[in-house]
Amino acid sequence: MPLTYIDIEKQKTWRIGIFFLILLFMYFCVTFALLQGIGMFVFPFVFMKTGGIPLSGKPLYLLAIFGSALFMAAIHFWFSASDAVHVVMKSLGATVPDREDGIHKRLLNILDEIHVVTGNRRIIQCMVIPSLSMNAIAVADLKGNAAIGITEGLLSRLSRDQTEAVLAHETYHILSGDCMETTVATSLFGIYAAMIENLRNLGDEDRHGLHPAFFLFWLLLKLSQLLSMFISREREYRADAAAVRMTRNPLSLAEALHMISRNWRGSSLIGSGLEMLCIMNLKDDASDESGGFWSDLMSTHPPAGKRIDILLRMARKSIGDLEKQAEKTPAVSPGAPGQRFFVLNQEKKWAGPFSAAELASLPWFSPRSWIIRESGKDVRRAAEDTAAQAIFTEISGQSSGIISKYHCPLCKQSLIGQPYEKTRVYACRYCGGVLVDSVKIPRIIARREQECTERIASLAKAVINDNQRKLSLKRLKGAGNVSTPLLSCPQCHNPMMRTFYSLAYLIEIDRCGYCGLTWFDTDELEMLQCLIENRIMAALDFSQP
């Protein structure tokens, strides 16, 4: 008899309650042991004489410990968690959805529907993370803000029903307070872990060696971490059940989870501290799927197979049906393994390491960004690094549209605003070139509505082989022929950089470093999409010049 979603929700809630009490008890023990340790350090003479700490054992002392632990935790927690939504979203580079983009507008509509079905209990924002990986994250903070972040890769590949199921799952995490609890747990563990590290460092210098109390509260800390992970797994099942209750559609959630589990989930983009807030764990290794006792203990999420199995039983379908459907769509991978880079972001902080594909999806990345290769030490501009140059693509529109204020850099005629892959681009009627906003490039690459025709495919192959040959010659012989004069940006009229989209995909583009617009000549955008979709590459030489 398949378990209905209501039963699953009730069962998991009850277990979560019990385990949370145990967790609370453990927090107290850890604090107690920690303060014993501090007491030992602060009152070494008393300890060595009597083997105990002054005042320990008196109930007032215990109460004082509890009170001060709570106080410290509250302060730390307040500072770290009060604005967590803003901080987390900013660190992921998430942006507000674009109302003019067809798929983003659909996302906003779906979020409205979720608000209707939950009775508007809490206003939740949604943000889009410009990464080609597939994952969704939910954050809530003390100020009352709540947000769901969803990656472009996921947004562009899910159908309407599947997006709704994913959003319902994340919404339940927020509404049931899971996100708040997770933020609490993370901040509290942060204090203890930091203090233990400091004490351990001091303890090592002590002539008496490591005191058993250090071991004790290290053990307690590990146990409470394990318990917290257990709670987190039960929560995931409960959120799955709640998503089914909201949408009454277990099949679409199963399909969405299946799709996410087959693909890259952003392991290098989303920090490990945020892992508990995502819909599926970030690591790709197979141990999570085995579902054995040990792997079950050490993972923040239940095995995807088990989750999908429960949902499919509700929908009366088998996993074989899903597999057959999934074979039709290609998988997303983090990109060719190899060169990874650290890049200086807009806050002048080093971010990374990113692979070439991930660099491509960062909206602020430009040829003038400073980067360091993972294996190297020199800091240089992305423009000067041969392996980092290529990640800008643009999208062009088709058929009739609105006349925009931009003019074609080649023909000097007005550009027409057109829809392409459900987003807006500006095309020239005369030469067929396209002007695209650089932030829209990741989503255009992720979307697959545009067919890759024979003509485009063969043209693309010819172009990149030709460009590869020219590039190799240029490297061997040094800077040679004079190229045509640089185009000027249609918006700010500064000269645009002419560069390849990437060394893997040698399509020439012009990009304006000031206003983030990219210009593609005729067919270049389709060629680029075709190349990336089909992973066609010219024979490349990555050795240092």
């Binding site: 067809g102 507008k105 509509n109 209707v116 058929s399």
Partner: protein
């Protein structure tokens, strides 16, 4: 001594009664609110339809009767009175709209037009919201019924006459969906 205990018990009993009464009040109001929310979504659908009709009218010269059906169904839905009559009118409107969308499939220019796509998306979203608001209403009615009918609460509910709320059910005609009439077989 016994007097004090009895007094304490009586006070506890009073508090419990107040608590149950208040939660019944809250649930009843939730149900009323959810019922009006359905109307909000229905009205939004009424407002979107004239836009859609005006956009497609220019292209669909031979489909006048389909458009007529949609417009008249909308007028009937706006003017219907009473819950039952309104539910029937809204169903007719849904059928008429489905017919219109089926016909639009035959016009490739319309099918890829940005305006029509946006309107279709908005209408689909509104249909979903109507369904979700009905679902929420039914869930809240169930909550209220459970609270009213559980054992100690039945006393209070009867005492203060909290009324039962009606579920939103599908019409008998809905359960066996009629085939969508697309007017034309091929474009």
């Amino acid at each position: 001594m016994v007097g004090w205990i009895l007094f304490a018990l009586f006070v506890l009993f009073l508090f419990w009664m107040i608590y149950i009464y208040n939660s019944l009040v809250a649930l009843t109001n939730d149900v009323k609110n959810a019922f009006t929310q359905i109307d909000v979504q229905l009205k939004r659908r009424h407002d979107l339809i004239p836009n859609l009709v005006s956009v497609v009218k220019g292209y669909m010269e031979y489909e006048r009767d389909t458009l007529e059906r949609v417009t008249s169904a909308r007028t009937k839905a706006l003017s219907a009175a009473g819950i039952h009559a309104r539910a029937v009118a809204e169903n007719m409107l849904t059928h008429a709209l489905n017919g219109l969308f089926a016909v639009i499939e035959n016009y490739p220019v319309l099918k890829s037009s940005e305006n029509v796509l946006n309107l279709q998306e908005e209408l689909a979203s509104t249909e979903n919201k109507i369904a979700f608001s009905r679902q929420l209403y039914n869930d809240l009615v169930a909550n209220l019924a459970t609270k009213r009918e559980s054992f100690p609460n039945t006393i209070i509910a009867a005492l203060f006459s909290f009324k039962k709320a009606e579920y939103f059910t599908a019409e008998e005609t809905d359960r066996s969906l009629p085939p969508v009439d697309s007017g034309r077989q091929s474009g």
